[in-house]
């Protein structure tokens, strides 16, 4: 119902009150000066499978949110913070899909935390997210500690980025029509993810094959050292450039190394499962999130045009009842619009809540959030390794 009333309300306000505006407590952090948008970007895809040393494994950590969001106390702000927390789990999966689509990399997974077993760890912060603009801070480091990327990206959508009909007309569409129009593989901010993928590829192309092979070796030994620091910690050394390198290699048939590989395989089965959970969340969120972003875009555009309307308004005699009541009505409609938008935000949160609950419930035998379950699993594997090897694992 709200989804139907919002466009109507918008139309009424536009027609009857000249203008209105609101300052919706959205999770936005303005950057000064604004960084340029990425524009239209084509994804650099590989037509042939790259060489093995180029197939680095990537772990995309669930995105962070700006610290400013934590201190918000204004009524309704908790709704937008809740949406931002969902986006932090949703947007990494869009980036993951883009990297997979490029066909340039090894396995790409979304993970609750940085993982020592992967070659590249990608961390992101959502600086700003509305249906109109998206700003991401992205930092990528490889297992040796080399910084691949530390950059802020910004993308601005156009009306063409959103499939489907005009939102006002769409409010009268059937559910089937809505589903057809809204469920699409192309994200409105696809360009930002393509740009990140292209930048990563550009960085990889600057590196020598030996450097890439070293990245894989270091990540292998880093994971081994996590299982047994005493045994494998000394195989790694930080060079003058601050990067880790492997100083001594164990034989491929070394029993300890074979045990590490076995445990690592189990670990990868687990993180593949975790990645599937994020995929499931992504699939369940996608239809309502697409609709939410569309409304969010309309709302953001409304914000941008409010000043023009205010300046072009012709008021009746100042202080008269007509002037007072019109002034109050403009205020009232602006507030009503914001409250309708808040109700949509609440509706989005309600709709996605079961998927989030499911995400945290699905690992049987482990408890807590997915992040906690991930930590528990790593500890279990470490203990299994200790039992199997009889090693004195240093904590």
């Amino acid at each position: 119902m709200l989804s139907k009333t919002l466009p109507l309300l918008l139309a009424l306000v536009l027609a009857g009150c000249n203008s209105f505006s609101r300052s919706t407590p959205k999770p936005t952090v303005p950057l000064e000066p604004p960084i340029p948008a990425v524009g239209n970007v084509s994804l650099h895809t590989a037509t042939q499978l790259p060489a093995e040393h180029e197939l680095l494994e990537i772990g995309i950590v669930v995105f962070d949110l700006p610290a400013q969001l934590a201190g918000q106390t204004r009524p309704g702000e908790s709704l937008y913070r809740e949406i931002a927390e969902k986006e932090a789990q949703y947007l990494p999966y869009v980036l993951r899909n883009t990297l997979v689509e490029s066909n340039q990399w090894g396995p790409v997974r979304v993970l609750p935390e940085a993982d020592p077993s992967v070659d590249l760890n990608l961390a992101g912060t959502i600086l700003s997210s509305t249906g109109l603009t998206l700003e991401l801070q992205v930092k990528v480091t490889d297992s040796t500690g080399r910084l691949w990327l530390d950059k802020t990206y910004r993308d601005v959508t156009t009306d063409q980025d959103y499939p489907g009909r005009d939102p006002f007309l769409r409010s009268f569409a059937s559910e089937e029509e809505l589903a057809d129009n809204l469920i699409t593989d192309t994200d409105p901010f696809a360009d930002i993810y393509r740009q990140i993928a292209n930048d990563l590829l550009a960085m990889r192309n600057t590196m020598e094959p030996a450097e890439l092979e070293n990245v894989s070796l270091v990540s292998q030994m880093l994971y081994a050292a996590e299982l047994s620091e005493a045994t494998f910690g000394r195989t790694l050394e930080r060079g003058e450039d601050g990067l880790l390198r492997v100083t001594s290699l164990l034989a491929r048939d070394d029993p300890m190394l074979q045990r590490v590989e076995t445990i690592k395989l189990r670990h990868h089965l687990f993180i593949d499962t975790v990645d599937e959970y994020y995929e499931s969340l992504y699939q369940q969120m996608q239809p309502s999130y697409a609709l939410w972003r569309r409304y969010s875009r309309d709302e953001a555009i409304e914000d941008k045009t409010q000043e023009q309307r205010t300046s072009s308004r012709a008021d009746p005699e100042s202080g008269s009842f007509l002037a007072l009541s019109q002034s109050y009505n403009r205020y009232k409609w602006a507030k009503l619009f914001e409250q309708e938008f808040m109700a949509l935000a609440a509706g989005f949160n309600n709709e996605v809540a079961p998927a989030i609950l499911e995400l945290n419930r699905r690992v049987h035998g482990l408890s807590g959030t997915l992040e906690e379950q991930y930590r528990q699993w790593r500890e279990i594997l470490r203990q299994i390794f200790e039992l199997e090897s009889g090693d004195q694992v240093s904590r």
Binding site: L324, A334, F348
Partner: protein, 242 residues
Amino acid sequence: MVLLIKTRRRLLFPVAATALLLSFFGFSVQATAAEASASTNLNHPWRPDFSGSWEKDFQRSDRWENELTRQISLIRQPRSQPTMQRPTANIPLGGPSRRDSSIIDLARLAELISRQNVIDITQTENEVFIAREGDAALICGTRENSMQSFSSPYGTEVCGWERQQLVFRITLPEEVQILHRFSLSPDREWLNHLTTVSRQGSVPFNLIQVYRRFDMPGDGYNCTQTLTRGRVCSTESKLDAE
């Protein structure tokens, strides 16, 4: 709190008058039995519980025309007569050529914004939500003593708690100020809503509406708001759903 203190200074007369009226109707600013039903979480400041459905008691509520007549007669009294410290200078009474807001216009605005016959209030640990038919809801947090609850080029709203009273101060362009002040009777059966309207430091117009608690009949549905499917309802009770 600074904002509320300023408000208090500017509205010395209405506050004094309100205190008198509140005591007349049995409202009290002291801690009362109403406290017993409020949140007892030690981590949060104590707040009275306004939640419930409230319908206007027309017998006890001000009639805006009568209140206007009373205020005009007070304004026209000679200065020598004591009138509860009320300022009497430069009070425009209205007229076709006036440029300043008159008490009549303020009275009409006060009537316009306090027409609701029914108010529905929900209150949680974090928020109080006052739904008013035909108008935007008044929403305020319960943890902070004061906060900006709305902001737009068309006006800003600050809300806060003054002892057991919940206060909203709306500032519209051209220094039009609207104050909503809610308080409960000791037995929590009555809700007092004082609306004060002023403009550019003029004498404010006060209108008191008194509401009686009533039980809103339930429709038997358990509803949840969703984005893509609108309001989804079932006959399942909330306990069953859990």
